[in-house]
């Protein structure tokens, strides 16, 4: 009996001691069974394309509540963009999300893809997408980390330096030039994993050049010569020639999240509230379309509570409103839930119309872009009306006749001053940039159009002037203090009223 106990115990103890020092199986145990350690690069590429458009977080906060309200496409009573108040969270949303999602996805993808001819087209496409993201960032905040950015994992750079906008813009142009040239239809691409153009390299090339047009034109105020050089270069290399080239990203109908329209998802899900939304079309936007009998109004807007999309019924909320006039939110226009305000409404990342308006402006300035301002302008307006077909046909599309009436009633002011022409072009661009408030905000700052009446609200932080940028993510003060302060030193105080480099 006694011996048996002793035996059992000694065996137990000895085996416990032996087991303890043994770490066989540890490595296997520590391999995450619910994640991949080697990525599928095509799937990463697809997600990168989705991220170029931003996610729900930054679009709701940065676009819908800030940028798009600053340019008076939308309005809400307490919207920081309507009243020029500072919300640290909303103001910072684009910063953290762009670096953390889109750029990180692209940088990581580039780090795992070997630089071989087989991968070349994918790499060039990544470079182009990077430009989209960085331009939006630098246009919104001013100086941002660029050359040292995105190196947290590959390089352990935890506090990247801020770069001057001039240096960033020079590199953006260089990247687009190189990537556009290097794209090669003879090399493999990613097939249907390319949601933009299904690996049609020719259209990717046009995208690179069209984006170069956008980037270059932004320099028209600060460095007109350089703007001219690259606008002409972009044109020469070949830009969008029809709506088929427009960069349209389609989305799934649900579930809300990464697959759905990042700009409207939160709106549909949370804010719409049966027409009692706090965020509405701006009076500025609705009035312009209404006063010009713009056929697009029925497609863009409706009163959600009643389903009424009759243009005559549409009413926008003034951006300086402190209350809903009459007190009934339901009488103010919401984006049309049959067309644009859907989970699966496509996003228009860059349109043929926008390219035509850029060319029209270049032509007005006398730059060599191969056509007249009027032609480009008319192409732009027509393109902006026709592209609405992407939102489906639940609301009748703009007919050629309607376009003709519109363009005849409001023709290009060929005889007007340069300023009048540019006002007309940018105002049209502002309409097609609906849901892309960031770009409209940049163009407003560059050109001063469309003409907006500033809001002077006691809660505002700009003394009644229209903001010239958004305030940086304040976490930078802690995680990247020295570089942040250096940027502020060069650029001016971290205020909404500080003008960034190309806006001086």
């Amino acid at each position: 009996m006694k011996n048996r106990y002793i035996k059992i115990f000694c065996v137990a103890i000895v085996s416990a001691l032996t087991l303890a020092s043994c770490d066989k199986g540890f490595e296997e145990m520590n391999t995450n069974p619910n994640a991949l350690t080697d990525p599928a690069v095509k799937s990463m590429f697809t997600l990168a394309e989705i991220y170029v458009d931003g996610q729900d977080f930054s679009n709701t906060r940065g676009n819908n509540l800030y940028a798009a309200q600053i340019v008076q496409q939308f309005s809400s009573l307490g919207g920081p963009g309507s009243k020029y108040t500072y919300s640290s969270e909303y103001s910072a949303a684009l910063f953290g999300e762009t670096y953390g999602k889109g750029l990180n996805q692209i940088f990581q993808l580039l780090s795992v893809v070997e630089d071989t001819p087989e991968n070349s087209n994918m790499i060039q496409a990544c470079r182009i997408m990077k430009v989209f993201l960085f331009q939006k960032l630098t246009d919104t905040y001013g100086e941002v980390p660029y050359f040292e950015a995105g190196k947290g994992y590959n390089g352990n750079v935890f506090s990247p330096k801020y770069d001057t906008q001039e240096a960033i813009y020079n590199d953006l142009l260089k990247e687009l030039d190189e990537a556009g040239t290097a794209l090669d239809a003879g090399k493999p691409f990613v097939g249907n994993a390319d949601l933009y153009y299904q690996s049609d390299v020719a259209r990717w090339k046009k995208l690179a050049n069209s984006l170069m047009l956008r980037v270059a034109m932004r320099l028209s105020k600060v460095n007109p010569a350089k703007a001219k050089e690259f606008v002409e270069k972009a044109y020469a290399k070949g830009v969008f020639t029809s709506n088929d080239d427009s960069l349209v990203l389609r989305h799934d109908a649900g579930p809300p999240g990464v697959k759905t329209n990042p700009i409207t998802s939160a709106w549909v899900r949370n804010d719409l509230n049966g027409g009692e939304s706090n965020i509405k079309f701006s009076k500025t936007f609705i009035d312009l379309l209404k006063n010009t009998n713009d056929p697009r109004l029925r497609i863009y807007a409706k009163l959600e509570a009643t389903g009424d999309n009759n243009p005559a019924s549409q009413q926008g909320l003034a951006n300086d409103a402190k209350e809903f006039p009459g007190g009934d939110k339901k009488l103010f226009s919401d984006p049309n839930t049959s067309t644009v305000l859907r989970y699966d409404a496509p996003t228009l990342i860059m349109s043929y119309a926008e390219v035509q308006f850029l060319l029209a402006e270049a032509a007005v300035k006398g730059w060599n872009v191969g056509g007249s301002a009027q032609t480009y302008y008319e192409n732009g307006v027509r393109g902006a009306m026709n592209i609405l077909a992407i939102f489906g046909d639940k609301v009748p599309l703009v007919s050629p006749a309607e376009y003709n009436t519109y363009i005849t009633t409001y023709p290009f002011k060929s005889a007007g001053t340069e300023a009048q022409k540019i006002e007309q072009i940018i105002t049209q661009k502002w309409i097609v940039l609906l849901f892309n408030g960031f770009e409209a905000f940049s163009e407003y700052r560059r050109t001063g159009y469309p003409v907006l009446v500033p809001v002077n609200d006691p809660t505002g932080e700009t003394q009644g002037t229209i903001p010239r940028r958004l305030i940086y993510d304040q976490s930078e003060l802690i995680t990247n203090e020295a570089n942040y302060k250096e940027a502020i030193q060069r650029q001016g105080l971290d205020l909404m009223t500080t003008r960034i480099w190309w806006d001086k």
Binding site: I6, A35, L47, Y153, F158, N270, G327, L477, N480
Partner: protein, 1030 residues
């Protein structure tokens, strides 16, 4: 055959010789209540004579002639030696229950009991009655103020909430800094299920809310590294060893019944102004009256409007009432009187070899927050058996089920009833919102355009969250004495938790009218299996050795499913199948730690002791090329009063010294390299698969647990015949290789990384004194006082990072951060914008501007103390417990927003005529001007350092008054004892300096201490307790 004969002969001879020299004695063994102890064993020291008591506690036995020493022992009692004189033939031995034995014997690592005098490190102790006297339903909170160096803070969410217990200061920037809890030798899970953070959320409780204080026999707190070194990588924050109650051999079945009921009342500390109503001033700063209901509702929290004048005016519910203040007691009107009931029934019994204790406990708690409830059922069984001298078996099992409904959301405004209740302008009686529904059953827009402010009645009446935790904690120990001095022991234990959690955004809630539901089902388990081989005895004259070697395997597994769905298809029906599914996520991790360890205690002549331990841990979660760490300790104790001649008034004196090295914060499983995962649980877009980078943390392959080494010295003395006892400890605790969960610039692509570079130093002193001030036959007065001072300093975070944010305030206006050279967890808030000479700079309108972020305080009080007085007169006892903390600060967003919103009474000056300001403008020119009160106080509120307050307090934490019914009253009843007690908690804040809130109003129990925002009110409890023994 010859051999057999020889053996028989020897036996015969020895029994003959024994018979010749023996005498017969009789005796009785009793317990403290004079009842016989059954199955007590009586042995003669050094001789093979023994006996066992009968059912009445009587025994008869032969003993050798002459003086002999008897050893009387029984399970559940302290063994006792009795000197028997030559002529004694009858003796009576009264045994003392073994819980009282703990005075001299303490439970140390792995449940090993050691003589207190032999320890070279500090161990804090609490006995069961200390936990039940002023009962806290949450065991963690019961530690508050009781043990020097154990700093407890709990969010004000009641017994189901979690407690923050920090021993001798926080050791790590990123670790939890909470001790390891070990119940009956088995490490248990104390996972924090969820905390309120910057974006709100509820405190979802931790592992300590499971325990029934009535089941606890004692708690030992291993404070320093020398004490906890045998727990290796888990020892960095100290260890709390919990021993549950056991049965004892007795003459029958013992039944204990205890019942507590208490009433909890909300105590409002808000003193808002009551002169100005809702609204904003016009552009020239003149207060205006709202024009319509919408405007009133939009500014329900914004008291910059017109002065109350009693004229008929719109109210928030649309009715017309005189324009005046109605909201003075909104807090009392909204919150309710809660109650807690807790009952425990325990049955225990046993015989000479086996004993048991079975208990059933039930706790029911209704919070002061309407609709918030918590219930707990505990079943505990302890079964112990020692069939012979060689083998003993101990088993403990507990099954716990805990259920919570509507844990309150804190801090941020969505679903947080405290937010609008706190920030309601004085013109509104909160009860006017009490029918919160619109025509469709959704939330009526009483609170205006900001949909993220939820009507408190809507937020409490709707189901918001439910959780259910079922937990089994079991352990089995077998001890086998191979020889008298060598033993082997095997222990196996498990803590197995099943957790179900549901969180609901109800249909019609303004910020998400479609609603949503999240279901989480998790199971979490930890198994530990260990074996020991030990030696205990003298190895030479005057030299004793108590040593063992052992091994442990720890296996943790966590697995769960999280599902989320949006937009209830049929409104108000809250289940996942009634939604548009959003996201399903699999949660999983598995890890193992293997350990080898040894311990050797040498004792010389019972006054000099040396203890050495060592433990090597191997981790599955580390890089295999470098996955183990060694944790040693050495400590010594010297009873100098045994050696040096001391004045008579010094009864006992001991010096001790200890050093140990332990670890903390084991890196998570799967954290070695970057992985890729489908984003948000979505696998494709338009049919194309999508894949993204997993996580926002930069992986680090070389990560290891951080290291903590403590050196400590202590002096223990008793004076005046043990009437006064003191314990003084000095320690220095240094963390190296701390895992800095460093925030990196988001422009790096990530938000955080983990690196082993941090260094934190905690130095401190602990002192405790106990005085039996008066001790007469009828009256006794005991005084206990302890204090602890801990000075912490963040020596290094990393070479790249000098500041790390632990938590940002919701409004982005203050942070709790770690900063090199500063104490752990300093509060940084904005100063005024100042020019180079320190003058305040004003903007062109004369308003203040936000300047630099400055260190405005520290969130953890360095000095804490507890002061207890226990009086007893005949059968009455009175206990008064006071605790205090000094040196900490708190950032109060309630005061900051209250000022911004024109609610605090400081905003009254200048409402008519403005406030005079002086300073300089941005160009350095002197400015003297007058600004409106609105501009003045709003810009003042941007300077958030104005709202960092000294959080010192002295509180009458608990008072209890008890009566023990005299035995003679109970003679004719079945009761052995009956006691009745009244107690009260948080009766009186004797001293504090923070306006409008309680200085302990932290919303979080994370490392970010010192943040408050729209807190729940302080709760005051009045309770009755009945204890009956059959």
């Amino acid at each position: 055959m010859r051999q057999l004969l020889t053996v028989l002969g020897v036996i015969l001879l020895s029994s003959l010789s024994a018979a010749a020299q023996n005498r017969l004695i009789t005796g009785i063994v009793t317990d403290a209540e004079n009842k016989g102890v059954v199955a007590a064993s009586i042995e003669v020291q050094g001789k093979p004579f023994s006996a066992v008591t009968d059912a009445e506690g009587r025994f008869k036995m032969n003993v050798p002639e002459g003086k002999v020493t008897l050893i009387v022992s029984s399970i559940g009692f302290q063994s006792q030696t009795v000197l028997l004189q030559e002529k004694d033939t009858r003796i009576t031995v009264a045994l003392v229950e073994s819980t009282q034995e703990l005075k001299d014997v303490v439970v140390t690592s792995f449940g090993v009991k050691k003589q207190k005098k032999s320890l070279g490190y500090a161990v804090g102790e609490l006995k069961g009655e200390d936990l039940t006297k002023n009962k806290e339903i949450n065991l963690g909170n019961a530690l508050q103020g009781k043990i020097a160096g154990v700093n407890v803070s709990a969010p004000v969410t009641g017994p189901s909430g979690s407690s923050r217990v920090v021993i001798r200061g926080a050791t790590s920037a990123s670790g939890l800094n909470q001790p390891l809890y070990v119940v009956d030798g088995i490490p248990i899970d104390n996972t924090q299920q969820g905390n309120a953070g910057m974006w709100g959320g509820a405190d979802k409780g931790d592992g300590m809310s499971s325990f029934n204080p009535d089941d606890i026999a004692s708690m030992s707190v291993l404070k320093g590294s020398a004490a906890s070194a045998l727990y290796g990588y888990r020892g960095s924050n100290g260890v709390i060893l919990i021993t549950t109650k056991k049965g004892k051999s007795s003459t029958g079945i013992g039944v204990d019944f205890s019942s507590n009921s208490s009433f909890n009342t909300p105590v409002s500390l808000l003193k808002w102004q009551d002169q100005y109503g809702a609204g904003a001033p016009n552009a020239s700063g003149v207060p205006t009256r709202f024009n319509n209901l919408q405007e009133l509702r939009d500014s329900y929290y914004f008291a910059w409007g017109d002065k109350y004048d009693g004229t008929p005016s719109l109210s928030i519910d649309g009715k017309t009432r005189p324009y005046q203040a109605y909201g003075k007691d909104n807090v009392e009107k909204f919150y309710r009187t809660g109650y807690s009931f807790s009952n425990t029934l325990a049955i225990s019994g046993g015989n000479e070899s086996t004993n048991f204790r079975l208990s059933f406990g039930n706790t029911k708690d209704e919070s002061i927050m309407p609709e918030t409830t918590f219930g707990r059922n505990n079943v505990a069984l302890s079964l112990n058996s020692a069939p012979n001298k060689k083998i003993s078996v101990e088993t403990n099992a507990q099954y716990i089920s805990e259920k919570s409904h509507n844990r309150p959301y804190l801090n941020d405004s969505p679903r947080n009833p405290s937010f609008p209740t706190t920030f309601m302008t004085p013109g509104t009686d909160i009860r006017w919102l009490s029918n919160p529904y619109d025509a469709n059953g959704g939330e009526e827009d009483y609170l205006g355009a900001n949909v993220y402010h939820t009507n408190p009645y809507f937020a409490t009446k709707a189901p918001l969250n439910d959780d259910l935790r079922k937990r089994f904690i079991g352990s089995a120990k077998v001890n086998y004495n191979i020889t008298e001095k060598i033993y082997a022991k095997a222990v196996i234990g498990v803590d197995d938790i099943n957790y179900e959690y549901t969180e609901i955004e109800p249909t019609g809630i303004n910020y998400s009218p479609g609603g949503s539901i999240e279901n989480r089902i998790e199971s979490r388990s930890e198994w530990n299996a260990s074996g020991f081989l030990g030696y205990k005895g003298d190895i030479a004259k005057d030299l004793s050795l108590d040593a063992f070697i052992g091994a442990n395997r720890q296996h943790n597994r966590y697995s769960g499913i999280k599902m989320k769905g949006n937009n209830f298809i049929v409104p108000f029906k809250y289940f996942y199948g009634n939604t548009q599914p959003d996201k399903t996520e699999k949660l999983f991790s598995e890890s193992e730690v293997n350990s080898l360890f040894y311990s050797a205690d040498l004792g010389y002549k019972d006054y000099l002791f040396l203890s050495l331990t060592g433990r090597e841990d191997w981790f599955s979660t580390l890089d295999p090329s470098n996955n183990s760490t060694f944790y040693p300790s050495v400590s010594s104790s010297f009873i100098y009063s045994e050696v040096i001649g001391l004045p008579e008034w010094i009864s006992y004196g001991k010096l001790r010294a200890g050093w140990g090295n332990v670890g903390g914060a084991l890196p998570d499983a799967y954290a070695l390299s970057l992985t890729y995962i489908t984003p948000d649980g979505q696998t494709d877009s338009l049919g194309q698969p999508i894949l993204g980078v997993n996580g926002e943390t930069i992986p680090n392959r070389t990560l290891k647990p951080y290291n903590v080494s403590t050196i400590e010295f202590g002096f223990e003395n008793t004076f005046f015949n043990n009437r006064v006892s003191t314990d003084l400890t000095f320690y220095s605790k240094k963390t190296t290789n701390d895992i800095t969960d460093a925030d990196v610039s988001q422009a790096s692509g990530y938000r955080t990384t983990k690196i082993n570079v941090g260094e934190i130093l905690n130095k401190g002193v602990e002192f405790a004194i106990n005085v039996k001030a008066v001790k007469t036959e009828n009256f006794a007065w005991n005084v206990g006082y302890n204090f602890a001072y801990n000075d912490s300093e963040v020596l290094n975070l990393s070479d790249k990072i000098t500041t790390k944010t632990l938590e940002g305030n919701r409004d982005g206006r203050a942070n709790v951060v770690l900063e090199k050279g500063q104490p752990f967890g300093v509060i940084k808030a904005y100063d005024y914008l100042r020019d180079a000479n320190g003058n305040i700079v004003l903007d062109t309108n004369g308003r203040f501007l936000r300047g630099d972020l400055i260190i405005a305080g520290q969130g953890v009080a360095p000095l804490s103390m507890g002061f207890s007085n226990d009086f007893s007169y005949k059968n009455f006892t009175l206990s008064v417990f006071v605790d205090a903390k000094f040196g900490g600060e708190i950032y109060s967003a309630t005061n900051q927003l209250g000022t911004r919103y024109g609610l605090t009474d400081i905003t009254l000056p200048g409402r008519e005529g403005g406030v005079a300001v002086s300073g300089t403008d941005v160009n350095g020119n002197a400015v003297n001007t007058t600004v409106s009160a609105y501009d003045y106080w709003r810009s003042y509120s941007d300077v958030t350092s104005n709202f960092v307050y000294d959080a010192d307090f002295v509180k009458l934490r608990a008072i209890s008054f008890a009566y023990n019914f005299p035995k003679e009253y109970l003679k004719r009843t079945p009761f052995q004892s009956v006691s009745l007690a009244f107690s009260a908690h948080n009766l009186w804040t004797i001293y504090d300096k923070v306006p409008n809130i309680d200085p302990e109003s932290n919303y979080s129990n994370s490392n970010a201490q010192g943040m408050e925002r729209a807190s729940m009110p302080l709760t005051r409890n009045y309770g009755f307790a009945l204890n009956v023994k059959f």
